[in-house]
């Protein structure tokens, strides 16, 4: 009993310290708030560790060059550990602070925030993930995939396989190895449509979450099915496990292509290094590698401040995706400012800004996107890189696979 009052004052002090925060009020002086959710912790932290610094650094770069038409960018990043309630809270906070656009991270989060984004008229982006049907700008006016959705990625993979197998898929066998959740299953309808059109044999191999063990599926693929090509759609720790297993079962990795989230440097390193993954094809919706002018500008910016760039800049795949993501937001905001004559933009104006994005390539890092009011995907462009000699070597230029088939799927989706 004697220690109780002392304990009470200690608890009260903690509560008071916690409540003694200063609410963030965005300065009214020529500032644009962009809200983002990026996961540096949680199940997708391997991706977030590269993407989040990329976004941050690109916004800093734009600010160091004077901002967007004189407006400084204030970027608010909140981590939600891939859970939905913290994402909803993060969105409410960013909305309350006056965000004009949101970088929504994570497919369940895109699902959960879709209605709110539409009600509050704030555009949200989800490059390379999210709802594939959100490419339809009429049904999802405030959701912008702005990069190849899973349908486009699947179709592009089939096109890549067709090109690699001599231009004809009749009688060939393709194996589709995927993470058994909605995002992993999403490309299947499109690939099945292509199967009927192109006449190849398809078998799907589901890997149950968390997709770190796929010995049985890979054994099935390598020893029994013996396909001509493997399309792998895995996330998290899955891709490195897949590469290791394929190698162990003697399946040549030059006959395997991974979709965008199976294509990171951490996947190659996690599989045992560049030598192990030799020949593996990777698909990306942003340019891969270091020789893009924007990366050199970011390094120069850090050097001018006398600091080292973050370690994440060495990840040439995910970091570049972060740059692309941020760059598209900057471009949309710039379009909005040009359209409304320099006044502080609203969410609706930034949405229209997104729908005017075209001819924006950032030195080759960004594909030739053309986002319109009906096509929020911008075309579904991807590039394929191959692991060769210790780094990613560009194998194809920007291409899109079967855009008519993907457009048909978008129209059919309910």
């Amino acid at each position: 009993m004697k220690s109780l009052p002392r304990m009470m004052t200690a608890v009260a002090a903690c509560v008071a310290a916690g409540l003694c925060f200063v609410g963030g009020a965005a300065a009214q002086q020529k500032e644009i708030l962009i809200g983002g959710m990026c996961d540096r912790t949680g199940p997708t932290q391997v991706n977030g560790a590269g993407i989040c610094p990329g976004i941050q650094d690109y916004f800093d770069l734009v600010n160091s060059k004077g901002g967007i038409e004189g407006y400084k960018i204030k970027y608010e990043e909140i981590d939600h550990e891939y859970k939905v309630p913290p994402a909803v809270e993060a969105y409410q906070r960013e909305k309350g602070d006056g965000a004009t656009s949101i970088l929504v991270y994570g497919t369940p989060q895109v699902q959960a925030l879709n209605q709110k984004l539409e009600e509050d008229k704030i555009p949200g982006t989800s490059p390379g993930f999210g709802i594939a049907a959100s490419a339809d700008g009429k049904r999802f006016p405030y959701l912008f995939p702005v990069a190849a959705t899973y349908w486009s990625q699947g179709a592009a993979a089939v096109k890549f396989v067709k090109d690699r197998l001599g231009g004809d898929l009749h009688g060939k066998k393709i194996a589709y190895l995927f993470y058994d959740n909605p995002a992993g299953r999403e490309p299947i309808p499109v690939i099945e449509d292509l199967q009927k059109a192109e006449g190849f044999e398809l078998r799907t191999f589901a890997v149950p979450p968390p997709a770190v063990e796929m010995g049985a599926q890979v054994l099935d693929i390598a020893q029994r099915y013996k396909p001509d090509f493997v399309i792998a759609h895995l996330f998290g720790a899955g891709p490195s496990a897949a590469i290791k297993e394929l190698k162990r079962n003697g399946y040549p990795l030059s006959k395997a292509v991974g979709l965008v989230w199976a294509s990171g440097e951490h996947d190659i390193i996690g599989a045992g290094g560049w030598a192990v993954a030799e020949g593996y094809h990777t698909m990306s919706f942003a340019g891969v590698g270091d020789d893009y002018p924007v990366r050199q500008e970011i390094r120069a910016m850090y050097k001018a401040q006398g600091k080292e760039p973050p370690k994440a800049i060495d990840d040439t795949v995910m970091y570049n995706r972060g740059i692309l993501w941020a760059a598209l937001h900057v471009e949309a905001t710039r379009n909005a400012l040009k359209a409304n004559g320099g006044k502080p933009p609203t969410g609706e104006e930034v949405k229209k800004g997104f729908e005017q994005i075209k001819d924006f390539s950032l030195g080759g890092l960004v594909p030739p996107l053309e986002v319109t009011a009906t096509d929020h995907q911008g075309g579904g462009w991807v590039q394929v890189f191959q692991v060769k000699g210790g780094k990613f070597v560009k194998e194809t230029d920007w291409f899109r696979g079967y855009p008519e088939v993907v457009a048909e799927a978008v129209k059919k989706a309910e």
Binding site: M1, F21, R40, C52, P53, G96, N181, R185, E186, E414
Partner: protein, 355 residues
């Protein structure tokens, strides 16, 4: 002096059986009700109201889990799955049949109660950690079923968009309206649970928790009451799932995975097993603490980290702080926040004396 118990004379059975017999209890409950139903929706900003709404939904779920784990002693890691059952039932009814919310919420709860009863059957033979694994299996099976059976999940994406609930023709869209909507169900849940644990069924639950062999000997049908416990707990979970669905406008099974089950277990353990107030405090703690730690780090983190590292440090420090605070509170009071509150209340019961 504050907590006056003397001079309270009851002159009828109703007064004797009242939920809050003491004047201080009545006044404080009335004050809280007035605060959360009238004052808060009118004065609190939309952002803080949204956090409060997330807490309210979590309270309903935590109450359900506390009935099962705290009062009946059956460990369950399947709470998230029952929420998803309720959510998808309500979503399918709302979208395919156009059912209003006062049909879908009980329907979602009843469907979850049915599944919960089936999942509770192993509890008749196994206890403790073994039952935890059986409920974990149920969580994963239900997740897989929803993932793969398209007429439940509504397609490959496994998510169903649900329109906001409408009452007398008015669609509840604004944060204030949703808050009052949720508040209604939280009040019903809290009053219901408080009365349940005082009733015959509640006493049977506690008897099963304390010594189920002795309970069986004195004539309590533990077969029936264990299944009833699972059913009631899953009903609460189903209703929680439906409330999430209406609040977010979408039913998606990825919101109800095993991490959610563990979150609710954490709420119940930190709040205090076997008490209504414990469920509420636990729900507030687990939902609010990550947000609070982020606020504190955003404002005072510059004291510890450089500007460049701060962005990276905030989410990681938040995880560390959250875990650390859980350990701290459990070391200070292993029986949870409810016991901490009871200690404070007991101090004031006899104040200014010490016993």
């Amino acid at each position: 002096m504050f907590h006056r118990e003397s001079g309270v004379f009851k002159t009828g059975y109703a007064a004797d059986m009242a939920l809050y017999p003491l004047p201080i209890a009545r006044w404080s409950v009335a004050a809280f009700a007035g605060l959360f139903i009238v004052i808060v929706p009118l004065t609190l900003g939309e952002y803080y109201l949204s956090i409060l709404d997330l807490i309210l939904i979590a309270v309903v779920g935590a109450l359900g889990l506390n009935i099962l784990v705290g009062y009946t002693g059956q460990i369950s890691i399947g709470h998230g799955a029952f929420m998803s059952v309720g959510a998808y039932t309500a979503a399918n009814l709302a979208v395919h049949l156009g059912a209003p919310f006062w049909v879908t919420i009980p329907a979602g709860g009843l469907m979850a109660a049915l599944i919960g009863t089936v999942v509770g059957i192993p509890s008749l033979r196994i206890k403790g950690i073994y039952l935890a694994i059986a409920t974990l299996a149920a969580q994963l099976i239900i997740e897989w079923t929803i993932n793969h059976v398209t007429w439940i999940s509504g397609g490959v994406q496994a998510s169903i968009q649900v329109p906001r609930p409408s009452l007398f023709g008015v669609q509840l869209k604004s944060q204030t309206q949703l808050h009052l909507f949720l508040m209604f169900f939280v009040v019903v849940a809290v009053v219901g649970t408080s009365n349940l644990v005082r009733s015959r069924i509640g006493r049977a639950f506690v008897a099963i928790r304390d010594q189920d062999i002795a309970a069986e000997i004195i004539g309590i049908d533990i077969f029936r009451y264990k299944l009833v416990a699972f059913a009631i707990s899953s009903f609460y979970a189903g209703v929680t799932g439906v409330l999430y669905t209406y609040y977010l406008g979408i039913a998606n099974y990825e919101q109800f995975q095993i991490t959610v089950s563990i979150d609710y277990l954490a709420m119940v353990i930190i709040g205090g097993l076997g008490s209504v107030l414990g469920s509420i405090l636990g729900a507030v703690f687990v939902t609010l603490l990550p947000i609070l730690t982020r606020w504190v780090l955003e404002d005072y983190g510059w004291l510890l980290f450089s500007q460049q590292d701060l962005q990276n440090a905030i989410p990681n420090m938040r995880l560390i702080l959250f875990g650390g605070l859980i350990i701290f509170f459990l070391v200070v009071e292993p029986e949870g926040l409810n016991r901490l509150w009871r200690n404070i209340r007991n101090y004031f019961r006899v104040w200014p004396f010490s016993y």
